[in-house]
């Protein structure tokens, strides 16, 4: 058991301090790691239901605003649905996950979570031809 640090690396040069999440297992699949993160941030949101949701992926029926997504009507977010969205986004290059100094690309890849492991999420943008 140990604390895994989730770091959202800002592309403007600074890093967020990160937040810790207690994880009992020593090895975990990437899929499960993402699920834990999403569950945690949804749980925190649902506890307070602020106007803006700050999470890994945009919930359905929300508007993008500065620093998050605004819910048209205040409601609870379903962690399962949100996890589905996050996994889909990962598969579609919506964001990158770095564990330690290595990018993980497969959802089923098992990773070793030694003490103080840092998991970094990097946002990407969808592209089309012009």
């Amino acid at each position: 058991m140990g604390i895994v640090m989730f770091v959202d690396e800002t592309t403007s040069g600074s890093r967020s301090d990160g937040w810790g999440l207690e994880i009992a297992e020593e090895r975990l699949a990437v899929r499960e790691l993402i699920r834990r993160r999403v569950f945690q941030e949804v749980a925190e949101y649902n506890a307070r239901t602020p106007a803006v949701f700050q999470g890994l992926v945009q919930p359905e029926d929300t508007e993008r605003v500065l620093n998050g997504y605004a819910l048209r009507t205040p409601r609870r977010i379903d962690p399962e649905t949100q996890t589905e969205l996050a996994l889909k986004a990962f598969a579609g290059n919506g964001f990158l996950v770095l564990v330690g100094d290595r990018q993980v690309t497969e959802l089923d890849e098992e990773i070793d979570l030694v003490l103080g492991t840092e998991v970094t999420f990097l946002k990407l943008v969808p592209l089309v031809g012009g």
Partner: protein, 820 residues
């Protein structure tokens, strides 16, 4: 109107009552009422005043002096008193009322550019003349300038006519040199040049000018006048006071002297032709078209006179100068004149306009391509074109190279040396003009017969230095010049052919383009302009979808004035957008060879409260929209200057002409037009100006600014670079990425790409083909990942592009696939 009648009545009444000193007070009150503007019906009041007998007027004059000195008189009242004094004392015996005060007011006037005729300052001059004193040259200059806009007024011009000395206005270096260097014999000639107020000289004007030149001697006149022209446009000898909202009058020509300059240009064309004359007139045209703040081109009238003069001179040097100017001048009126002059010459010789431009390139004494040797006494001068510059080197009598001009040459061959140095300058200028002309040949789509092409291009002593560094298509085979001969890619000599074209990369495969780049490198050839490395813009699928327009360069914010001059330099027609209720056509470029017209749609952007405009009401910035093509003879589109849709307003219920499908546009034309537009955006966009970090007025361009970057990396791009440097080794695609200079190079399976760290634009290597991939503006699915911060969106874009391109075989988006 009631006022006017009241003062007329007052004059009668005061005269009858003998209260003439009192009348002075009334007149000053009248001046307050009409704000010192004695025009229109107020003329009648002055006339009434002048009808009074001299002794009565003398008493009014005394009254004015009293009022001038009275305690309650402010500066305005004093000025009015001085002017009224001038009026009432007309024809009175000489007196010394307020003389010093008048002189000081005149001194003040002499520092102004001009005054309005309603101010009646001519009365001050008249008073001075009546006192028998000469008028200071600076005052004369102001009066003359003022006369040029004294409409429907006779008093001021009448007074100005009395001021015949000096023949030119003081204050400009060239005019003062002319006044200093010439004696009485020249006065009449100089005065005659100042009468050049028409667009073209009349036969009578020419006749008179020739008659005046006669006794002075044509050569003497030319040698005296040419150095003056070189001084035109230099800083004034004394500055004029510039009022608010006034253009930069100190950089403008003195309008009175401008007529004289025009006259001098005409005069020169009446003298026997001389290379120096052509050179000086060409320089005058360029100086006169330099832009002045708040005014635009300094003085198109003088520039046009220079062109007219060159057109009248029947010499090779003059023709060459016209051809050179035709490639440099972008000011529309002057460009039209140049065009007409060359056309006339072409018709006279039975040639096409293009041919006359080709034939007009002189060799300037070069005996072989880019080289000439001249013996001057014991020494030898070697004139050589190196790159795009002419260089002069010397060898002494003993055959040793020497650094500077040998003393013996300086002493004994001063004349020849001067000529040689002038040739060096001419060659420099002509090289850049020719390089620009050749660059324009891509869209002219010219073909030459082999023999003519060799003579006018490859083997031409001057043009050859450029042509031998370019690639040509001879009967379908690409060839370049190396090691004394025209060669193919495999270095086989190519000695003959029938038809030659200028090579353009759009017609060739990337492999071939790269092979030629290697070839140029191998032979150490630097091209005079981008040819082998020219950016190619191919039609994208998005453009196939939009059909009749390209959105590739839409939604940029450009600095209007910079865009305007760039557009003119690339042969586009454009009108500056003013913040007025008017319509204007879009910037457009005619492509007569193709029967097409390209349009780039723009609109003015002055901000919500129209604060982003210049003093003259011109928008500082533009927003951009589509690029479209129309048949060249389609009616003009137009849109409101401040924005709104472009449309064709047609008479008689005619249907508007539809834009042409982009698929119908020849790839070469599309590529060259989009290259122009990319240049406009690349250079004039506010996005590449580091001073816009704050997002401009009210920060409203912040987002645009941050999302944009071109050219050198700005600070944020440098930071991005450092970040990528740290990030890339950790990514799964690390082995496919390298950071080099301003680009992130990404090796895909199909191609290698480079992504600009500033703008995120992608070029496909090695042929620099622009790859259009943009962020999806409105993602339908929530797949856009989000992290709880607002970071550097551009880095995300670059990373996303790198990820996508590293696995370019997995791309499914058809609009991207079609570009690969």
């Amino acid at each position: 109107m009631g006022h006017v009648q009241r003062y007329k009545d007052l004059i009668r009444q005061r005269t009858a009552d003998g209260d003439l000193e009192e009348l002075a007070v009334d007149l000053l009150k009248a001046a307050v009422t009409n704000k010192g503007n004695w025009t229109g019906l107020w003329d009648g009041v002055l006339a009434r005043l002048l009808e009074l007998p001299p002794e009565a007027r003398a008493r009014v004059a005394d009254g004015l002096v009293t009022q001038y000195h009275s305690e309650q008189a402010g500066p305005n009242a004093r000025e009015n008193a001085l002017i009224l004094l001038g009026i009432v004392s007309r024809g009175l015996p000489p007196h010394d009322r307020l003389t010093a005060e008048r002189l000081s007011l005149l001194d003040k006037i002499s520092r102004q550019h001009s005054f309005w005729y309603g101010a009646r300052y001519e009365n001050l001059i008249e008073a001075e003349l009546a006192a028998g004193r000469p008028i200071a040259p600076a005052v004369v200059a102001t009066v003359r300038r003022s006369v040029l806009h004294a409409y429907q007024n006779e008093d001021l011009p009448r007074t100005a006519k009395k001021l015949t000395e000096p023949p030119l206005n003081v204050g400009e270096q060239w005019a003062e040199a002319a006044l200093r260097e010439t004696g009485t014999a020249w006065r009449e000639l100089l005065a005659h040049t100042a009468t050049a107020t028409a667009a073209k000289p009349s036969a009578k004007w020419d006749q008179q000018a020739s008659a005046l030149v006669g006794p002075l001697g044509a050569d003497h006149v030319r040698e005296t006048v040419l150095p003056w022209l070189a001084l035109a446009g230099r800083p004034r000898t004394f500055e004029l006071e510039r009022g608010p909202y006034e253009p930069d009058i100190n950089s403008a020509y003195d309008p009175y002297n401008a007529n004289a300059l025009r006259g001098l240009a005409w005069l020169l064309s009446l003298l026997p032709p001389h290379p120096d004359t052509a050179r000086a007139l060409g320089a005058l045209v360029e100086t006169s078209l330099k832009k002045v703040a708040g005014l635009g081109p300094r003085n198109p009238k003088v520039a046009n006179a220079g062109v007219n003069a060159l057109a009248r001179i029947d010499s090779e040097a003059a023709l060459a100068e016209l051809a050179r100017l035709a490639t440099r001048v972008t000011y529309k009126n002057t460009a039209k004149l140049l065009d007409a002059a060359l056309e006339t010459r072409a018709v006279a010789l039975g040639l096409s306009r293009e041919e006359i431009e080709e034939l007009a390139v002189p060799a300037y004494g070069l005996t072989e391509v880019g080289r000439a040797e001249r013996r001057l006494g014991e020494a030898t001068a070697l004139l050589e074109v190196q790159g795009s510059r002419a260089v002069l080197t010397w060898t002494s009598a003993s055959g040793k190279p020497v650094r500077s001009v040998p003393a013996a040459v300086r002493r004994d061959q001063a004349e020849e040396l001067k000529e040689l140095k002038a040739a060096v300058k001419d060659i420099d200028k002509m090289l850049s003009a020719q390089s620009e002309r050749l660059d324009r040949q891509f869209l002219a789509d010219r073909t030459w017969s082999y023999a003519i092409w060799r003579e006018r291009y490859l083997d031409h002593p001057l043009v050859g230095t450029l042509a031998r560094r370019l690639l040509w298509t001879v009967d379908g085979t690409t060839s370049g010049y190396a090691e004394g001969s025209l060669r193919t890619l495999t270095d086989e000599p190519l000695t003959e052919g029938t038809e030659v074209r200028l090579w353009h990369p759009v017609d060739h495969s990337p492999a071939e383009i790269v092979a030629w780049r290697d070839w140029l490198e191998r032979h150490g050839i630097t091209q005079p302009f981008k040819q082998a490395h020219r950016e190619v813009y191919l039609l994208t699928d998005a453009e196939r979808t939009t059909g009749t327009y390209s959105n590739r360069f839409a939604a940029h914010v450009l600095r209007q004035h910079q865009f305007h001059s760039l557009a003119a330099a690339r042969g586009w027609r454009n009108k500056l957008r003013l913040a007025v209720d008017d319509e204007a056509p879009p910037p457009s470029r005619d492509l007569p060879r193709w029967g097409l017209r390209a349009e780039y749609w723009i609109e003015g952007d002055g901000g919500a409260d129209y604060s982003d405009i210049t003093d003259s009401g011109t928008f500082l910035r533009l927003r951009t929209d589509q690029v479209r093509f129309y048949p060249i003879d389609a009616p003009e589109n137009s849109a409101h200057c401040a924005g709104g849709e472009y449309h064709m307003w047609l008479r008689d219920g005619a249907d508007p002409v539809d834009p042409l499908p982009l698929t119908d546009i020849p790839p070469l034309v599309l590529s060259e037009v989009l290259r122009d537009v990319d240049l406009f955006v690349g250079v004039a966009s506010i996005g590449n100006d580091p001073t816009w970090q704050d997002g401009g007025p009210g920060g409203r361009f912040q987002e645009y600014w941050t999302s944009y970057g071109f050219g050198e990396l700005n600070q944020s791009a440098e930071t991005r670079r450092l970040l990528l440097d740290r990030l890339i080794p950790r990514l799964a695609i690390a082995d496919r990425c390298t950071l080099e200079g301003r680009f992130l190079h990404v090796k895909g399976d199909r191609h290698t790409y480079k992504i600009h760290l500033g703008s995120g634009n992608i070029l496909r290597t090695p042929n620099d083909q622009y790859l259009c991939i943009v962020p999806k503006s409105n993602p339908a699915t929530p797949q856009s990942g989000y992290l709880p911060y607002e970071g550097d969106r551009m880095l995300a874009v670059i990373l996303s592009k790198a990820m996508m391109l590293a696995a370019d075989t997995k791309i499914t988006d058809p609009t991207i696939l079609s570009q690969l």
